[in-house]
Symmetry: D2
Subunit: 276 residues, 4 copies
Amino acid sequence: RPFSSSSAMAKSKFEYVRSFETDDTCLRNCYIVVRLDGRNFHKFAEQHHFTKPNDDRALGLMSKSAHSVMEGLEDITIAYGQSDEFSFVFKRTTTWFKRRASKLMTHVASQFSSSYVFYWKEFFGEQPLLYPPGFDGRVVLYPTNRNLRDYLSWRQADCHINNLYNTAFWTLIQKGGLTTTQAEDRLKGTLASDKNEILFSEFDINYNNESALHRKGTTLIWEKRDETVSKRIKRPNEEEKQVPVTRSRRKVEAYHCDIIGDQFWEEHPDVLENDT
Amino acid sequence: RPFSSSSAMAKSKFEYVRSFETDDTCLRNCYIVVRLDGRNFHKFAEQHHFTKPNDDRALGLMSKSAHSVMEGLEDITIAYGQSDEFSFVFKRTTTWFKRRASKLMTHVASQFSSSYVFYWKEFFGEQPLLYPPGFDGRVVLYPTNRNLRDYLSWRQADCHINNLYNTAFWTLIQKGGLTTTQAEDRLKGTLASDKNEILFSEFDINYNNESALHRKGTTLIWEKRDETVSKRIKRPNEEEKQVPVTRSRRKVEAYHCDIIGDQFWEEHPDVLENDT
Amino acid sequence: RPFSSSSAMAKSKFEYVRSFETDDTCLRNCYIVVRLDGRNFHKFAEQHHFTKPNDDRALGLMSKSAHSVMEGLEDITIAYGQSDEFSFVFKRTTTWFKRRASKLMTHVASQFSSSYVFYWKEFFGEQPLLYPPGFDGRVVLYPTNRNLRDYLSWRQADCHINNLYNTAFWTLIQKGGLTTTQAEDRLKGTLASDKNEILFSEFDINYNNESALHRKGTTLIWEKRDETVSKRIKRPNEEEKQVPVTRSRRKVEAYHCDIIGDQFWEEHPDVLENDT
Amino acid sequence: RPFSSSSAMAKSKFEYVRSFETDDTCLRNCYIVVRLDGRNFHKFAEQHHFTKPNDDRALGLMSKSAHSVMEGLEDITIAYGQSDEFSFVFKRTTTWFKRRASKLMTHVASQFSSSYVFYWKEFFGEQPLLYPPGFDGRVVLYPTNRNLRDYLSWRQADCHINNLYNTAFWTLIQKGGLTTTQAEDRLKGTLASDKNEILFSEFDINYNNESALHRKGTTLIWEKRDETVSKRIKRPNEEEKQVPVTRSRRKVEAYHCDIIGDQFWEEHPDVLENDT
């Protein structure tokens, strides 16, 4: 005869452990930024033979994964990515996951990571993914539009500095025939203008004509787009017929432009809410 | 002539935004539990035709993913999973990620999720994964061994209650020919003993003989195992020869046993540290 | 011979306990509000024979204590009090106590409480303070000017509602001869307009002519005031003489006016910083 | 005619600001320590002519104030003070103020501060208190008995080190006729044993015979004491008479003994709860 202790009673005895959870609700009326960073991506890039200084397949996969996160969370109004990092900005008034920081960041980290593996083949074709990659995340709150824009400017300035350095570094190696040590020495202490000059005078490269994707990173925002589909319609006393129907749909769009200056924000006034 | 503003100076102007990050270091000398839960896994299970009441492929994939997380984080001393959830316990004294809650939980969520997609094929073969799944996570701290054991007992009691219900429910449908509504009605208000009785007297099923994996969930711990490999050795004045070499290695091992009682803990005294 | 173990070494062995302190730095660029509430002040008021519905000595002592807190903390830009509560607003950019919430609120609670006892005699004369009173506090952050003003409006609306009720209640008892139970019944379910009407038609009291201190509470802000003092000055080849010297000094000033509408804020534009 | 806008409606419009409060509940099953430190007490001590190296009036007032805090909060099981600081330990399972850190620390800071002013006269007689003093506080959690005892040991080791230094320093000045600079130089780099030796060989002072209050600080705990009062009792068929009645009452008792070793804890086993 099977025997069963009162399992419900047993469970209720342990249930007190729930009260050890802490409330990590994000302060109201602040932008919530979740930033992800690849873990050990230097090694990951080497093992997967990423091209230097930029691998467009890898950047495309990052964007695709960020896209996948945004499509599932409409309250993310803007995302910005470069290299192996991506930042997601939830609108000030979001109530997603009751604004619980842990839920927001783990969900973003999880969805991004599973997407990265899921879409790998779309960007790397038959080159196999050798092991499941990891990303870690954090949550930061910004009370005002100025603070949020400065955060995004900070990430884009970081993109600029790194990409200019990497472009000069790898050009010295790939076209100039230097070793990595020689290239490092050559660039030690140089200013941005020096690196531009090296590229221009020695390699005839105008850095400003380099790929915007590499220089500016990727900005994802929601945009309304008119979409025309054809629909079969049957009106009373008429024959059924095909009619074109135009609907406005929100879609995630990618930009590779400057987001430090005002122009981008003036052209997309809906991204930020008012400071009230 | 390419022009470049002083980008380093520009970046430093924005760098103040870093000071908006908050310190979420976990209290010292407490066990840190990260629990992951599948998001919308009811729908995910249906879309991927999981068998009812338990799908061994899905459970195997969960365990494999948890395994993958543990292998990368030696300070996880025990992990427990059932259904679409998994809990990871960091030892009290861990200094991984400087005990920062956000880093710990996003890393676990990320590694688990990318592993889930990465190892999908190993468990589901040619059945395609339709979209990247999501898991959300949380961090909970437990100050004492009793609290931690009660947490794990709570999860295993939950496993027991759900599995007994699901076993009875799906047996009534699959073998008893009931509709889901009829099965629900039949089980409404029943105690554990009633469900055992239904299974036994009507379907000749002794619940206690059902799969331990389903009844008890999966417990992962580190174990020392002796491993014998053969090595070629060349000593002076001897010919080179093959010799067996035995080394002790830590490996993650899976158990499907009771962890509510004392026996498991007495047999694995290294899992918990002292309450000091 | 006196013996001494190496006490410095002993101490260093225990010093690890400092790492259990948590960082509770307040989010940057947010207003920090510390609100104090009297503990068991209903009983305290009775035991010290506070007059009903308002005791001007008690209100004066509250203001004096708040004044004392503000004088010591210039970064408090505005304070608002009513009944047995007082709120202190630190400017968004304050770096007092490194913005540590615990330091800010305990300091305010401590300084307010010691001042309350210290200045008791100044307001209550020979009537003795029977025991040391207690106040508890909390910290709340507000990201925008609108949020902060709404917080202060909330407290002043609370003052208005309570004072109108209390005025009607005690008038019914003191002038109308009702018991407390009768007065409660009489006011049950009445709107503000009803209470105004009772006061006006039955007791010839126009509530709007009642003391602004009682109706509006007390608002403390810093103001520049010109102050003329006479100084002895001795110029070369002149006799020493008295000259009037005018200096601008910041002083804490008290208002008993509406702070819900815009007028107060337009007249004191320096209290709030911009939302940037 | 008096006019009144709907004030209740007005208030409800602002009430959303309450949702900006954050939950700062202390982790369950941890000891909660609130430590207070005098603000600018070096200056306070000078202005109030505290005797050097220890002022028994000031130490007595600190203890009295701590006493007053404990009497009002039975869940404080032990308090330890020295110099211008006092630590209060709430039992692991306390539910006072729902374990909200802000409430616990502000209440302790407030009650201590108002008591300090209230009881000033009892210790300083006619010497006036010149201004209301301030104390700031913090909350620290300790998960185990070992951690808590190490915290208290840390504070007592600090007391020992400071008092030995101060005793030697002021003896060199008061009895040795050194200036403060000379005394500083004399003690620079000395070990505890050196200071003991200076006191013993030059001033015939055995440090271990100095006041335990100064060497060990003050430990307050609750103790059951039998208390005999005489009561008038009237039994049926008997004359009313006085009878002695003995009751056990909990009272706060002060100790000036070592709390680093085990003896104190063995003699007072009720102070700590088990680590479970």
